[in-house]
Symmetry: C2
DNA sequence: CTGAAAGCGCTTACAG
DNA sequence: CTGAAAGCGCTTACAG
């Protein structure tokens, strides 16, 4: 409740109301022991009556005090994958009593740079970033000592704990499985290889071909789609060819959804031979589409939790070792065509 | 870059480095005119060299200065609907130079109350909330003058600009359309009617029945599912009955997805007569499922933008009128069964 | 155009 | 157990 003058009550207002010094109020608020029960009770009553809330900005100004803020910069908040990641980070950070300052970078490095600069200006204790690129603003000298945790994508030269997904391994193994099953023409739909995960997933795809001694047909490779619409267009192109692929590796959820849309479009449905989809990332309803799909699933929320935990360990001084890189394992889900499959087999 | 003592540079560090007073540095930083070009240039050089960043917490401590923070409390960040809303708010708030402090309430009123209290302690300029309930902590006397914008759901007694979706109207009209098309047994899958949107959407459903003089079969009404799994279970129950409904109104995306899952499960697919789905909220791949679906679509990102704009208008003093309530219109998408329908008809 | 003084709301020593 | 003094990093008057 605001005072009669319309201003928020301060620690002085409370002190005057309770008839004690500001220090006593401060001690009660921070839960210190050395306050007599009577004064403590009087302060508490005044706080409640005045609707006083401690000004965290003022508190954190004193040296040794922390802002209680973690800055999170994400390439696209509205992508369900990153929304899950954010929720996981929120869980862990919130439980530590801290708050989350967020911003969507829209895969724009300049926006990311500005955002991070603002976060630091707001005295965040640490930064969790899904980096749009690998530029100067993420290097140690630009961060001025603010701890950094990178999620999903690594940045060369950054001094940062990094949480990755087993992109290369899972892509390699599942591509190898398709090749072993006899597929010889496998299409590739992914983001640009300038994106860290894009490159890694393509590398797994490429290496599986090399190791199997099967030449990769560059005419079937499309690396450059970051949204559903462009993925759908590219897939329709593939489907319309005289000699279309028998399987398609979709390197993220947006590409997979685009591929599904193309497959279910009227013209494509006339096809008789089913195309096997391999999707890196799970997506809603994948298991009930009636299409043969293999999903490389991983827990985005857990990735967010893990990133936040690594951050907290740094902040609480538990982690004094050099930056670590952790790879989250993946889980394989297989759905054969027509109807819903209950028997999703777990692997890796 | 940190100074030699490992501490961040302050305005004093910069002043000493540039050989000017702190005030001159402050003037340059805030872009004031009354500084000679020479000094201004020297200050800028020192700022760059020292890697100085203004401490926003300290700056905002002075009366008349604003924190530049907006607090956003959302029931579930990972729901794609709210993730979109958040992105819309981020767009508008970010463009105003402010930052977003966020938290997921998980539909828990206590968590919401704590979160809002923390936001206010951090001196947010305003609050954007998708309220989990309608308790004291959202009433004017609890907010101490912090402006509040409510999104998706209204709260009685709150002094807040409110952005709603046309829940009642759209539910009414589309239910009426189903009844006019001859449906007499329409199932209902929704969240609890204690949730604001849950009640409004059910009201539209109920009133359409009343006005059409058709009795609503309570045995077909399930209001209490807020996640996909429970919606799927309830839908399977409905489908397993001797006399199942011919259409089902799903009052949000989670219930619709659950319904789709149930419809596509092996046993249910054996059915010959298709069940028409009416979904309040769009969801990914709805148009390519090959099921007869009517979608009541609305733009969550625009809802987020609108909420943020209303907040900014309050903050910038443009809006001095009493709180407003705005209803966002909906758009109707119709997909008939089997295959993908290009001809989505727009309406309302 | 430039700067010395005071104070925003809080907490850290230090004194009793 | 309690409180007066000083200062965190900045900006608002006020003085030159």
């Amino acid at each position: 409740m605001a005072g009669a003058d319309g201003r928020q009550p301060t620690i002085l207002t409370v002190a005057a109301h309770a008839g004690v010094s500001p220090m006593t109020v401060s001690r009660v608020l921070s839960g210190q022991k050395n306050v007599s029960p009577e004064l403590s009770e009087r302060v508490r009553a005044s706080v409640a009556e005045l609707g006083y809330r401690r000004n965290e900005q003022a508190r954190s100004l004193r040296p040794g005090q922390r802002s209680g803020l973690i800055g999170v910069a994400i390439t696209n908040i509205a992508n369900p994958y990153y929304a899950e990641l954010l929720l996981g980070a929120d869980e862990v950070v919130g439980a530590s009593g801290r708050g989350l300052l967020i911003g969507s970078t829209n895969e724009d490095e300049d926006r990311e740079s500005t955002l991070i600069s603002k976060f630091i200006g707001r005295q965040v204790e640490g930064l969790i970033v899904v980096p749009a690129g690998a530029r100067r603003h993420l290097l140690p000298q630009a961060l001025g000592g603010t701890p950094l945790v990178l999620a999903s994508r690594a940045v060369e030269g950054a001094r940062a704990d990094t949480v990755l997904v087993d992109d290369i391994g899972a892509s390699y193994e599942q591509t190898a499985a398709l090749l072993a099953a006899g597929h010889r023409r496998i299409g590739y739909l992914g983001t640009a290889t300038s994106v860290f995960t894009g490159l890694r997933r393509f590398d797994g795809f490429r290496m599986a071909h090399e190791d199997a001694g099967i030449e990769l047909d560059q005419a079937l490779v499309f690396a450059g789609q970051s949204d559903v619409q462009s993925a759908e267009r590219v897939m329709l192109d593939l489907l319309g060819r005289r000699n279309p692929p028998t399987a398609v590796f979709c390197a993220n959820n947006q590409n997979a959804i685009g591929a599904v849309r193309a497959l279910r479009s009227s013209t494509a449905r006339a096809r008789t031979d089913p195309i096997h989809l391999l999707s890196f990332d799970n997506f809603e309803l994948a298991d009930v589409l009636g299409l043969p799909i293999t999903i490389i699933d991983h827990d985005a929320r857990e990735l967010g939790r893990l990133a936040a935990r690594m951050m907290l360990e740094r902040l609480e001084g538990t982690a004094t070792q050099p930056p670590r890189t952790v790879e989250l394992p993946t889980r394989i889900l297989s759905f054969v065509g027509r109807g819903r499959d209950i028997d999703a087999s777990a692997g890796v």
